[in-house]
């Protein structure tokens, strides 16, 4: 028996149907069409499917679609303000913090969650905050620099 779910996704109201055992990751990708949310492992180890659920950073592969009823979801698709990119998006581009880019949506969401809690993180704090997101291309160097640069810019704003 399918479940009808109402959620606020990136500020908009969505209604979708999913199976009771369907993950929020699958529901977002297959039912809502938010394919910016990526599956790298399906077991909560890689962070490519990172979203925020009522402001909390979660792996959407470890949440059921049905659990999203009445809750607020933010994905990479909602990060920019119209045609104005979020400073994290801009800094990721400027610093070449992505190579293949498949982990990028998860990193952006995790970094945004960090900077909302801690606008002035140290390098070490960035590294530990992003330790749940795997990147195999960059060695993380340029990602950490991009997050620190975005934090600096956001503090000035």
């Amino acid at each position: 028996m399918s479940v009808l779910v109402n959620s606020t996704i990136n500020g908009d109201q969505y209604e979708f149907v999913c199976e009771p055992d369907e993950t929020l990751l699958d529901a977002l990708r297959d039912r809502v069409g938010m394919t910016g949310v990526k599956e790298g492992c399906g077991t909560g180890d890689c962070g490519a499917c990172s979203i925020t659920l009522d402001g909390a950073l979660v792996c959407s592969c470890l949440v059921l679609g049905a659990e999203a009823e009445g809750r607020k979801i933010e994905t990479v698709e909602g990060m920019s303000d119209g045609d104005k990119l979020h400073p994290l998006q801009t800094k990721f581009l400027e610093h070449a913090a992505l190579q293949c880019g498949v982990c990028t949506p998860g990193f952006l969401i995790a970094a945004k969650a960090l900077l909302e809690k801690n606008p002035d993180p140290s390098e070490e704090q960035v590294r530990y905050a992003l330790a749940g997101n795997l990147c195999r291309c960059t060695g993380y160097d340029k990602i950490v620099r991009a997050v620190l640069a975005a934090a600096k810019q956001m503090r000035k704003a």
Binding site: E19, R29, M34, T35, G36, V37, K38, E39, G40, C41, G42, T43, D45, C46, A48, T75, V76, E77, M79, S80, L85, Q89, F92, L93, E94, H95, A96, L98, Q99, C100, G101, V102, C103, T104, P105, L108, E123, E124, V126, R127, Y128, L130, A131, G132, N133, L134, C135, R136, C137, T138, G139, Y140, D141, K142, I143, V144, R145
Partner: protein
């Protein structure tokens, strides 16, 4: 200027700058479409049943119940693959690996597949397939597989490369040998000779995006496929051969690729998706789970390597010898030969001999992983170089500098080197502030060198000038991390127009001639060579158009800074024409302006790197921390230096993971015990420091801009650099990768016990 004229002392305007990549915004907004992000109308979902056994003969497969399940549209087994007429042994191995025929050779080997209306139904159908196996004895260790009495994996495996051909089957699939001089005489000249055995675990490329494709074949034999791959033209060719299709009728479109590092150069599920689609007459989507990726795609070889080297007291390496045993999975490979060729390639040796042995084991089919086979060989050789230096009381970097290969050196694998960068990377390392920085307690510093051949091969490009004077480059090598940016820079450079007036597009297989894969560090090297040729053909065309517009001789038209200039007595009064000026009149001067090039890119310049690292080892737990890491590598010419740095850093990070932690762990039952990122732990952000880079530019004389491939060499030195650092920190020689905490701790304890 000739069409392929190398440019000496050229001052670049676009190449060497660091603009934002053109595909970037799509990737930071979630718009970019990767393998699993694509769907076709009426699409079915596929799922694959895999062997739970390490080695088993397949007695029977009963798919009747699965076929009857409501919603199931097709079931395939190996019987559906028609191999009659296929003679290429490599292709037959690919087919057998995609779907086991008589024998399941490893835990995870595919045995059947289903396509159904949704993924849930497909999974339910798999449970209804009854496979009767007869378990066979298995072997997963490379040395055990060579020992007498080891279970024979393939009864028809007679070692290739041995004269006369053996009459008895064995697990040694291929023997290769390289070298020159006389090693016995060389060892006699040495004051110190060391012999050791080194071992490396099996690592996986660990790309974050699992394999995925959507395939569609119509009953008329035409089809299309969307797939994450490092080489869609090669995939098309191989899939067409496997399915008996005309290659031209199979249109393959490459998705954005979420990492490959060699692992997406090989077919795993694509022929299965095509076959399911043909049987169901519907598009079929197949996506691997992470567990499937670990169990059933292609990791690198686990190895066991004997090295013997001799050195004089004053630091001349007189002889070097190695036997390199590489596991290739259950099918023959050439992996050990790459190890044998690369092992001593950094050095100028009078006497050298290497033997590579590819060994069959009950593990997944080995596939390329970034500079395939070179890191393990470098671990063995570069570890021993440090030990030799220690024995003759010479600085390890000085011993390397003294014996480094140079222009004119006959390499250990045959060819004579042209201008190369090993000496320059060593000199830069010696001068680097990292070398002199103080070390803390329990810290050790290590260094190592690495080599990779780099490849060239077939590339094909179209350069089209739009009516507004902007340019589109269509090319056929996959963009794994900045290729569209670097191709745009090259076109901007050559045409003399701004970077943002160029659009680089990766063609589907219906839009361009055959291109080889993005592998062998060939993408930028080969495709830029073709792109430059395309541009120069278009420039020749535009000079002709300008001559027509001015009504002067072609010989009086020169090209400079993106403009046609009228020269000679006839044209001195004409103002220069921009590309936009010429393009605007194209309809009057001969139609669209374009340059099409197809090349075999010869002369990929070999690549060298030197890495330095500091490691801290907790003496009580064996836990390691990477304190500092520096990569120095020759890029020939860095087209987009930021992405070159990215290649250096990414390769180093992968090497660090391999050196310290990553390893396939098999149980006694031959089943993989860690097929997930929790237990196969790749480096995370908090494991690593910043990775410093230094780009050297020793131009490749065979490329018009001096470009060398940069993608792979950076993974070659880390295993040894870290091994040397850990050995220096603990005063115990490490000979096995990964140097996990328990392994380091037991080495420290064993050393204490022997004291």
């Amino acid at each position: 200027m000739g069409i392929d004229t190398p440019m000496k002392d050229r001052v670049f305007k676009s190449v060497g700058t660091r603009p934002t990549r053109p595909d970037g915004i799509d990737k930071v907004t979630g718009r970019a479409r990767y393998g699993a992000d694509f769907n076709m109308p009426g699409q079915l979902h596929g799922s694959i049943l895999r062997s739970p056994h390490a080695h088993a003969s397949i007695k029977s497969i009963d798919t009747t119940k699965a076929e009857k399940l409501k919603g199931v549209k097709a079931v395939v087994t190996s019987k559906d693959f028609k191999t009659k007429g296929i003679t290429d042994p490599d292709l037959l191995d690919i087919i057998d690996n995609c779907m086991a025929s008589k024998t399941a050779y490893y835990d995870g080997h595919a045995v059947a597949a289903v396509a159904a209306v949704d993924a849930k139904t497909a999974r339910a159908a798999l449970k209804l397939i009854k496979v009767v196996y007869k378990k066979l004895k298995h072997v997963t260790d490379v040395d055990e597989a060579m020992s007498p009495g080891a279970p024979l994996i393939n009864k028809k495996c007679f070692t290739q490369g041995v004269e006369p051909a053996p009459t008895k089957a064995s697990n040694i699939a291929v023997r290769s040998e390289f070298g020159h001089g006389n090693v016995s005489e060389g060892f006699q000249q040495a004051d110190i000779v060391i012999k050791r055995t080194y071992k490396t675990g099996q690592s996986h490329q660990g790309y974050i995006e699992p394999h995925a494709c959507v395939a569609s074949i119509s009953p008329d034999g035409s089809g299309e496929m969307w797939v994450c791959t490092q080489g869609h033209f090669v995939f098309r060719q191989q899939c067409a051969e496997i399915l008996g299709l005309d290659a031209a009728k199979l249109r393959v479109t490459s998705s954005e690729i979420g990492g490959g590092f060699g692992g997406k150069t090989h077919l795993w599920l694509e022929p299965v998706a095509l076959l399911l689609s043909r049987k169901a007459n519907r598009p079929v989507k197949l996506v691997m789970s992470r567990e499937d990726v670990f169990r059933a795609s292609g990791p690198t070889s686990t190895t066991s390597i004997d090295v013997k080297m001799g050195v004089t007291k004053d630091g001349v390496i007189t002889a070097a010898e190695a036997e390199l045993r590489y596991a290739s999975g259950p099918y023959a490979g050439a992996w050990a030969s790459y190890g044998a060729m690369t092992s001593f390639a950094c050095y100028d040796l009078k006497n050298v001999k290497t033997v590579g042995l590819d060994i069959l084991v009950n593990r997944p089919k080995t596939t390329a992983y970034r500079a395939p086979s070179a890191p393990m060989a470098a671990f063995a050789v570069e570890s021993m170089i440090d030990e030799l230096a220690d024995r003759i009381d010479m600085d390890a970097i000085d011993l390397r500098i003294k014996n480094a290969a140079k222009e004119g050196t006959r390499s250990s694998y045959g060819p004579v080197y042209g201008p190369i960068g090993i000496g320059a990377t060593l000199d830069a390392a010696k001068k680097h502030p990292h070398m002199k920085a103080p070390l803390g307690p329990n810290q050790g510093r290590g260094m190592a060198c690495g080599f990779w051949f780099n490849f060239g091969g077939q590339s094909c490009t179209d350069l089209n000038i739009s009516p507004d004077g902007t340019a589109t480059l269509t090319f056929g090598t996959i963009d794994v991390g900045g290729a569209r940016a670097s191709m745009s820079l090259v076109v901007a450079e050559e045409l003399g127009i701004p970077y943002d007036k160029v659009k680089a597009v990766i063609a589907d297989t219906g839009s361009l001639g055959h291109n080889e894969m993005t592998d062998g560090s060939r993408g930028t090297f080969a495709s830029s060579m073709s792109a430059i040729r395309s541009c120069r053909l278009a420039i020749d065309d535009m000079r002709q158009r300008a001559a027509t517009m001015w009504d002067i001789d072609l010989d009086d038209v020169t090209w400079e800074n993106g403009h046609a200039h009228a020269g000679g007595s006839s044209g001195s009064n004409h103002a220069p024409l921009s590309i936009a000026d010429i393009a605007a009149r194209a309809h009057k001067t001969g139609g669209p302006i374009a340059g099409h090039a197809q090349i075999v890119a010869d002369g990929a310049g070999v690549s060298f790197a030197t890495h330095i690292c500091d490691i801290e080892v907790d003496p009580d737990t064996g836990q390691t921390r990477v304190v500092r890491y520096t990569v120095i590598q020759d890029a020939g010419k860095a087209v987009h230096p930021t992405y070159v740095e990215g290649q250096f850093q990414g390769g180093a990070a992968q090497g660090i993971g391999w050196a310290l932690n990553e390893e396939y762990i098999y149980g006694k039952d031959g089943r993989l015990e860690n097929p997930g990122f929790l237990d196969y732990r790749i480096p995370v952000c908090s494991d690593l420091p910043m990775i410093d880079t230094q780009i050297l530019e020793i131009p490749n004389p065979n490329h018009p801009y001096g470009i060398r491939g940069v993608g792979e060499t950076s993974i070659v030195p880390p295993l040894a650099a870290i091994g040397n650092a850990v050995s220096n920190a603990t005063h115990v020689r490490m000979t096995q990768v990964p140097m996990s905490a328990p392994r380091i701790l037991s080495a420290i304890h064993a050393n204490k016990d022997s004291d």
